[in-house]
Symmetry: C2
Subunit: 190 residues, 2 copies
DNA sequence: CGATTTAGTTATACTCCATAACAATTCGTC
DNA sequence: GACGAATTGTTATGGAGTATAACTAAATCG
């Protein structure tokens, strides 16, 4: 889930494979054959609310209304960042590194709500893309200060523009006043 | 990510481990020792908006406002379902199976936006928990009709109550009128 | 009937992320 | 100032979720 980089662990008990009697009783596996290349990818674009489906309580929950909106926005958000090979967590990291001087890897992890080990991987990727550099921190020889490279600044600028365009496009059905209302209501939840 | 059971693939290029010069230059690994049991879990509860942090553009995007609200709701949502070992996708599946008679596994996959293979695992888990049963479908010996067991109905009823309580708790800061407004605005996005 | 499609399944692999352990360093406290 | 505790960055390992591809049995369509 991620998206912002949040934890949202959601792990719980594994549901290990179970033996089960199948409708058409199993028979021994044959060897490869390959007749039809299997029709294009499954599970493509996802419509969070199909007609002719009874969603029961799900339709009554504010949480699901938010979830649905988030799903719709998210897919397009990812697409708008794809040209730079930037994922949402990477975008968040770039913004945070850009705006918070002397940010340490541990700070980044805390802010984004991920484990330090995850932040290492994230920064590794950004460093390999030459967008971020680890610079020895002053006063602490254990730590790095994270900084954007020149390329990182350029990429962030371009990606930011794309993201803002995307956001404006998504919200264009709402007036400025309505957007303000939406923001205020969301902020008051929970 | 899931949560509702949505796809949201979000995969792209893997950021393979890179060689990197560390701040304190590496030395050979020693064997086990175990001194301190490492302080409680990292990446615990996540605050989507810390003070003293500059979030830059992120604070201006409607998409992030929604994302943040969703994150806050989600953690609590998961906790409210935990007593029954029900995850959000499992809850969605139970509701959908309950409300849509004669639902097939493939239908479930399509509605939830996951691959059929994923639906198999989901239904496997629910069947192992004795909440759902595969019943041979009429007129099609390939397919199952998914149905709730008596235990499944009881569990769904209890979990639904917990979920509704949770949702009401989250939205209690908003008047009925405001909740309606929020719903309407969310529906008009994208 | 034969070709194609569909439902359910399995195997495999990938991605993201957490936990745990660790070395080097810093901090707190006497 | 020395020593135990905490912190920083790191690696190894593994788990959960989901996708892709291939497959069997059955239905459908010409």
């Amino acid at each position: 889930m991620a998206g912002f980089g949040a934890a949202i662990p959601f792990s719980m008990s594994a549901s290990s494979r179970s033996s089960r009697s199948s409708p058409s009783s199993r028979s021994p596996r044959k060897t490869r054959d390959t007749l039809a290349p299997d029709p294009a990818t499954e599970a493509g674009g996802f419509d969070p609310h199909l007609p002719d489906v009874d969603y029961g309580v799900l339709d009554n929950l504010i949480g699901y209304a938010i979830r649905r909106a988030q799903i719709r926005l998210y897919e397009d958000f990812v697409r708008s960042l794809a040209p730079w090979n930037i994922t949402p967590p990477r975008f968040s990291a770039l913004v945070l590194i850009s705006r918070n001087p002397d940010l340490k890897l541990t700070d980044l992890a805390r802010i984004m709500g991920i484990a330090r080990s995850g932040a290492v991987l994230l920064v590794d990727a950004l460093e390999e893309m030459k967008l971020v550099a680890r610079r020895p921190a002053e006063n602490d020889r254990r730590a790095f200060s994270l900084v954007l490279t020149a390329a990182g600044r350029r990429t962030l600028e371009a990606a930011t523009e794309a993201v803002c365009d995307h956001d404006a496009k998504m919200a264009r059905a709402l007036s400025a006043q309505e957007q303000q209302t939406l923001r205020a209501l969301l902020a008051r939840l929970a």
